[in-house]
């Protein structure tokens, strides 16, 4: 069976440039496609090879990870080849010092299983079907065959001083924390992956700049044209404060069921939501609803639909409403409490008392501490919880015990 592998290349710059933090090299005045990505993209004489490295040491992928995968899809849609690199070699090696928990040594079977889980999770994002648009590679293919002579050659391309200038190493040197010699090899291995893959562009978070630049140097060392680096911002977690991460439990997992995913996303704080729309959806940013609650719902239903389909997205929205309604009996049966009478900033225990859900502020505090109070379905036990404005509570259901509810309105 023969596929027509000639891709349709379209510049589609808006999809590729959306939300990008940095591109390097970036010389907008240059007509040279080796230092101006726009020129390379609009040249359109061949599909470019866009590399994204994946670390198969864990299994749960979250929306933070999805950002670069989505960018990879934008390149696919413009006719280029997504090269998904699975770092099975390094995952199997682990960290020789045993100092880093993130570098635990895995068996080949674990790595294969993790890689499979990873691919299952990104399947809704990427184009797996159009011929020539996706290449899945494993770096053991070339790294396991590297011998000492080749490794000395790789090491000889960089100085200790250059390596120590790298963010992360510099402050460890200052603090006197041991940096083990093998840690110097990781950026070089990642760089050598770019050589082996003949990457034209490497995608990564802003924390990957150094490693991607090492890839450029090594490609030059091996007589190749150096890749472009395309850096994406780091996503803020659902807490609105720290970067999204599993260990901080402020993440939305790609394998979360539609309702869970929806419930987390419909609570994204206003200060983060613009970043979420830009990095996690294709929606035009100038046509978003103004109402904060509507914005949250749109974000939630759009993202869920990407991973589970439109029907599941709509279903999740209904289920999320039903969850609150179900607890509250009929939606209509939920009394409304107007926040107009409350002076902000206001503590939640005061609102519990003012709304009549609790007999007194003291009673409200006790119930909160005992786990008997929920806001929009989530337990709230911090008696000092304070809200700055009615907008933060608008439309939310406040619940005491199993049967007492009010919907807060402005």
């Amino acid at each position: 069976m023969v596929f027509d592998r000639t891709p349709m290349i379209s510049p589609n710059l808006s999809g590729i440039y959306r939300g990008v933090s940095e591109i390097f090299p970036d010389r907008p005045d240059s007509s040279n496609p080796d230092e101006n990505l726009v020129k390379l993209l609009t040249k359109g004489d061949r599909p470019l090879r866009i590399k994204l490295g994946i670390d198969p040491t864990g299994t749960d992928i979250h929306l933070g990870h999805s950002i670069c995968v989505r960018k990879l899809r934008a390149f696919q849609d413009a006719g280029h080849t997504a090269v998904l690199l699975i770092g099975d070699f390094t995952a199997r090696i682990g960290d020789p010092t045993g100092k880093s928990e993130t570098r635990a040594q895995l068996t080949a079977a674990q790595v294969a299983e993790n890689a499979k889980t990873y691919l299952d999770q990104v399947r809704p994002i990427l184009d797996f079907d159009t011929p020539g648009r996706l290449e899945i590679r494993y770096n053991s293919e070339w790294l396991s065959g590297l011998d000492l002579a080749k490794i000395l050659d790789l090491l000889g391309t960089m100085s200790v001083q250059q390596m120590l200038a790298k963010e992360g190493f510099d402050n460890r040197m200052e603090q006197g924390t041991a940096i083990y010699l093998h840690e110097f090899l990781y950026p070089l291995m990642q760089g050598y992956d770019s050589v082996a893959l003949e990457a034209d562009v490497e995608l990564g978070g802003t924390d990957q700049k150094f490693n991607i630049a090492v890839g450029r140097d090594l490609q030059r060392h091996f007589g190749m044209k150096p890749q472009f680096g395309l850096l994406m911002p780091i996503l803020i977690g659902t807490d609105g404060v720290q970067k999204m991460s599993k260990s901080l439990n402020n993440y939305v997992g790609l394998s979360d069921d539609p309702l869970t995913m929806y419930s987390k996303l419909e609570k994204i704080a206003d200060r983060s939501i613009a970043q979420y729309f830009e990095l996690l959806t294709d929606l035009p940013l100038d046509a978003l609803p103004e109402n904060p609650r509507e914005k949250q719902k749109l974000l939630a239903v759009n993202v869920v639909s990407q991973y589970w389909g439109k029907e599941a997205g709509d279903r999740a929205q209904l289920d999320a409403m039903a969850l609150v309604k179900g607890a509250a009996g009929e939606a209509d049966a939920v009394a409304e409490f107007s926040l107009a009478s409350v002076q902000f900033p206001a503590k939640l225990f005061y609102i519990l008392s003012a709304s009549g859900l609790c007999k007194s502020s003291g009673d409200a505090r006790k119930l909160m501490q005992g786990g008997g109070v929920k806001l929009e379905g989530d337990k709230v036990s911090d008696v000092n919880l304070t809200f700055e404005s009615p907008a933060e509570l608008e439309g939310k259901v406040l619940q005491v015990g199993k049967n007492k509810f009010v919907r807060l309105v402005d």
Copy 2:
């Protein structure tokens, strides 16, 4: 054919300890043979494995190199196994940065040729014949098979900070001179050689302390007993000032013919000669002749005899004398000039004039500048050459042109 490979182990501590600069670990009070080499040597339950690494990047070996080889022989004579390690792997790799001339990449054939030449030169020193006393190994045997996983493991045993504390690296960091990453691998490769060879003791110059200590760490890492380090002093060259080295042309080559070797050695300055006797001969140091000239002759004839045999040593001595005599015609025909009348310190041009070899001091200076004056066969053109005492000149032949000679006597 079956050899009796059971060695005769004797403590022979005097030969082993002669001239040693440092042994580590060195805990003379300890009864533990793992930290007290004397205990290990006197234990005598098995032949120890004594490693000496050789860099086959050059061909000419000089007396400076011979010091550790002679020490290796002392261990052989005490019943132990000399393990001569030929660093063919690193010699073939060269220096990836191409910055260091000493690390030029060599072909396998060149390395093999250099190794052969090296072995030919040390053949007079080592016991090549007694079964079990010599093992010649090449590090390509284990280094060429090292893969990335193993190399990461080796690198993970050491921190950047430890490596940068190494002499040579520390001041390059201070001066801002680039240290290339592969340079960090060399000490680890040398250390891994000790693992592969199961070395009990590694010999080296005092500049090898760090690398030998790395070997100890790696042996521990691989669950072995760490080797002892035995460091020998660096030999001063024939100029009496800088360390012996080919590039400074202050060396005595092991492949120098007997007469050349003799001629260089019979001129070793008094301030260096004690070190030469200690490190290059087995002569008892408390029974050396007092006369400086006799001392020089004894050194020269002894060393030449080691490399070329007793007969050749004696022959060289006669030839050296004949060289002077030959130029002077018959030895008996050389007039003597007594230095008793000369006031020291004395310039040579004055002695030339006082002895009657030249008509005046001015004439003497001109002849010196023109290259017409020889002392003991060597041209002397420095008109400021000054001698502190008659002892420095005693017995030497001073020559002007082809036919005018005097022998200087005290």
